[in-house]
Subunit: 478 residues, 2 copies
């Protein structure tokens, strides 16, 4: 195989971003299509990314008192139907089990598209007194939503996620929990995955089916589109009333608790690919990368090279997530391309002359910079570079988001911008869903969120021209 | 609530063991029944046990090169049907999705009862050369088997497990992998969960549908029954041939790889309850216990008691999994019973006089022994006691298994033993499935395994009297 075959096999990122994306998913061996239409198999390299995200997030969850649980994958139809908005939102896209154990079922069961209904049912059973509150439970599991058009990680029919479901004594406590988990999602995206996010609240049209409020983190992709990458919902008493969840309050009276739910999913892997990747392939943020540095020996058959490379590997393998590429049937150039395509943040090259000089060469995946490093300083240098790479990758995305965020004062400007280049648009909005629908119809852009950081652009709605006091971020979504 | 209410609420273990078991599951808040018939919700205390098992096993897996993945929960009917024995074994107990996204499906999809079929299909896609081998993949997920009679953890329709699926270049390597994973299961059961096991091979009748060989660990419950608690299967080329998984071998010729699969599940939680529990409730082995020691302050309103208890908690909480019970609405006696019922290995009592003396009292859950310990020595003493408790719990089970294992030379002896007391029977077997069937019909005992540790009891089959050279362990199963 030629040295540049990898790169040639990947569609040019600026020519066809969607194809580039699926090329990366397949070639970097993150996932693959299966015989179950619309469902992927997540391969070890992709799953290791998910495990790292899980470990990071789960620790943060537990620090705030979250407890993990597991609830059934199957939900009876009658439960799904108890909350009106919820069933309207989810029933059209669920999969139904109608036969089991050789018999037709009396009541059909859906595979969970989300588990508010079954958590709330059990909370009704377990809750007695205000002393029992809060319930702050979570589960890591898979859910199924029968999407018409699918895309690996971004819109798979089945995907992995965590769903937290909590109930609280007071509205204030529930609202605080909603935002506390939201803050953790921001932390995961920005501090762990090097992806700057827009923080905001969804409009009525875009919020979760059955929620009072939905908070979202929105990532901008390489091509300027929006990816909803984590949501946290405040439900008020919508579900606890529909499911008759009550308790004796401090005054001995019957009361309904206040509820939240929140989730992040394997869609984050899609976001990493789309936010960070380039024409050489995947580019993984150092903290989540399954392999943080790979050692490639040069002139592997020369005396002492293999041994020295192995020695370095042994020295580093307990400090960093390391790989060593000792394949003899492919050239160093092939290996360079291979590990770049796999997105490994740091490559360490070591050949006969380097060994003589007590040095090696480090190559950064993010900048392609080559750095000669003394072997004595290697261990510390890797740490330093991984930190730098994280910051640089974050800043690169940040700058892109700033460059590709425009301001529109009226519909003409809005359409003009959207027809030229993909990106976010900041524009005022009156609050009506008709204006949202019109903008979507004309530009395919949807309201991403009402960001926490508001700016005063004008006093009038970008669409209808009526009085407006909310700035909305708009964009086309994946 | 009275001090002994907990104990009273639990059925006597010697009167009705099955009811005692479900009482423990519910009262210790390990799991609960749901509106989805035959499926349980695993509550935080139960799930924490599973997480501890996962962490322990997953580390051991990874040390041997296992990589985690995630494959679809839905398997098309046509895939399930490809291996004859497999489909015969599993088809009768699967659940079928027949509608999704508002439409009837062209091909129905089953919820995975196990994933040999879909792993093998993807292996066919990914495997090219001998250089790609082995694939040593695993997934932690839930599976569904539509059992007629269910019991929480032991026989839930849905249960959590891990399923490893590997393919190898040679028969020898595959056989070694089968036994390597088997050894890890022995490690999990004995060293982590303090449950001695019988190691052995299943007979033709009892082995996994589609496997050449099935290895099993069998646990004996409090009432002398058998619990299959982990299995490892060698498949030969059965599935790789049925699914046409081929590769170019070292000579450039087309070859089929050799396959294994292996799994442990949340059934282990049921095994823990049934192997260790007693009339005071659950009794958790120290290494898996979500709470290893609980601090109960005595005379909590007396000066300095609460503060001192809190101080101890703070000192110990990073060394052990600690809990402190500061509830003011219930008595110390209530708390003792509560935490005993929850199976916490160590209770630490501290009251005004103890504080005066610079001491506290430790009570062991396994022996009820009370030990006065100087506060200076507390930290080390806990470590020492947790180790001792583990050993004692293991030995208690071991002794029971020895006491309740009898030898039978003929069918009369076999029936006689089984009619008196529940337990294991060691007996010679000729190898015919007719004899197995007859023994099952007459005594409800099944062949648990052909143990690795063989003994020569006689030369003739316990059932038919013909020549026999295998000793089998028999028992009634849960």
């Amino acid at each position: 195989m030629k040295e540049n075959d990898f790169v040639k096999e990947i569609t040019n990122i600026d020519e066809d971003f969607a194809r580039w994306y699926t090329d990366i998913v397949i070639k970097a061996e993150l996932a693959d299509y299966t015989d179950t239409k619309g469902c992927i198999a997540i391969r070890p390299y992709g799953y290791a990314i998910w495990e790292n995200i899980q470990n990071y997030a789960d620790k943060l969850f537990k620090k705030t008192g979250v407890k993990n649980t597991y609830f059934p994958v199957l939900i009876p139809e009658s439960l799904l139907e108890k909350e009106k908005d919820h069933v309207e939102g989810f029933a059209p896209e669920v999969a139904w089990v109608t036969e089991a154990g050789g018999e037709k079922l009396e009541e059909k069961l859906c595979i969970r598209p989300t588990s508010e209904t079954i958590f709330t049912t059990m909370y009704a059973k377990w809750l007695n007194s205000w002393r029992d509150l809060p319930f702050v439970y979570n589960q890591w599991c898979s859910v199924l939503r029968w999407e018409k058009e699918t895309r690996p990680f971004l819109r798979s029919r089945e995907f992995l996620w965590q769903e937290g479901h909590t109930i609280h004594e007071t509205e204030q406590e529930a609202r605080e929990r909603t935002l506390k988990m939201f803050d953790i999602y921001v932390d995961v995206a920005e501090n762990f995955l090097a992806m700057p996010v827009i923080r905001g609240r969804k409009t009525e049209t875009e919020k979760f089916a059955g929620a009072d409020e939905t908070y979202t983190i929105e990532v901008m992709t390489y091509d300027g589109k929006a990816l909803q990458s984590g949501t946290s919902h405040y439900f008020g008493q919508n579900f606890t009333k529909a499911f008759d969840v009550t308790y004796q309050n401090r005054e001995g009276k019957k009361e309904y608790p206040y509820q939240t739910s929140w989730g992040i999913s394997t869609r984050l892997i899609g976001a990493i690919i789309m936010a960070h990747g380039d024409n050489r392939g995947l580019k993984l943020p150092p903290k989540v990368a399954p392999i943080q540095a790979v050692i490639v020996p040069i002139a592997i058959h020369k005396e002492n090279v293999k041994e020295k490379a192995q020695e370095l590997y042994n020295m580093l393998k307990d400090k960093y997530r390391m790989e060593i590429d000792l394949r003899e049937q492919v050239s160093p150039g092939y290996k360079f391309n291979y590990w770049e395509m796999k997105g490994v943040p740091i490559r360490i090259e070591i050949g006969p002359r380097d060994i003589e000089n007590g040095e090696c060469i480090i190559v950064r995946r993010d900048t392609s910079e080559k750095i000669t490093v003394s072997l004595n300083e290697l261990e510390n240098k890797i740490k330093e570079l991984l930190d730098k790479i994280h910051i640089n990758m974050f800043n690169t995305c940040k700058k892109r988001m700033e460059d590709k965020t425009m301001v529109a004062h009226n519909l003409d400007e809005f359409q003009e911008i959207m027809s030229k280049e993909q990106g976010f648009i900041k524009a005022m909005w009156c609050g009506s869903s008709e204006c949202e629908a019109k903008i979507k119809e004309l530009t395919y852009a949807t309201s991403r969120c009402i960001p926490f950081e508001q700016e005063h652009i004008s006093d009038t709605c970008v669409c209808c021209g009526k009085k407006a006091d909310k700035m909305v971020i708009w964009g086309r979504q994946y």
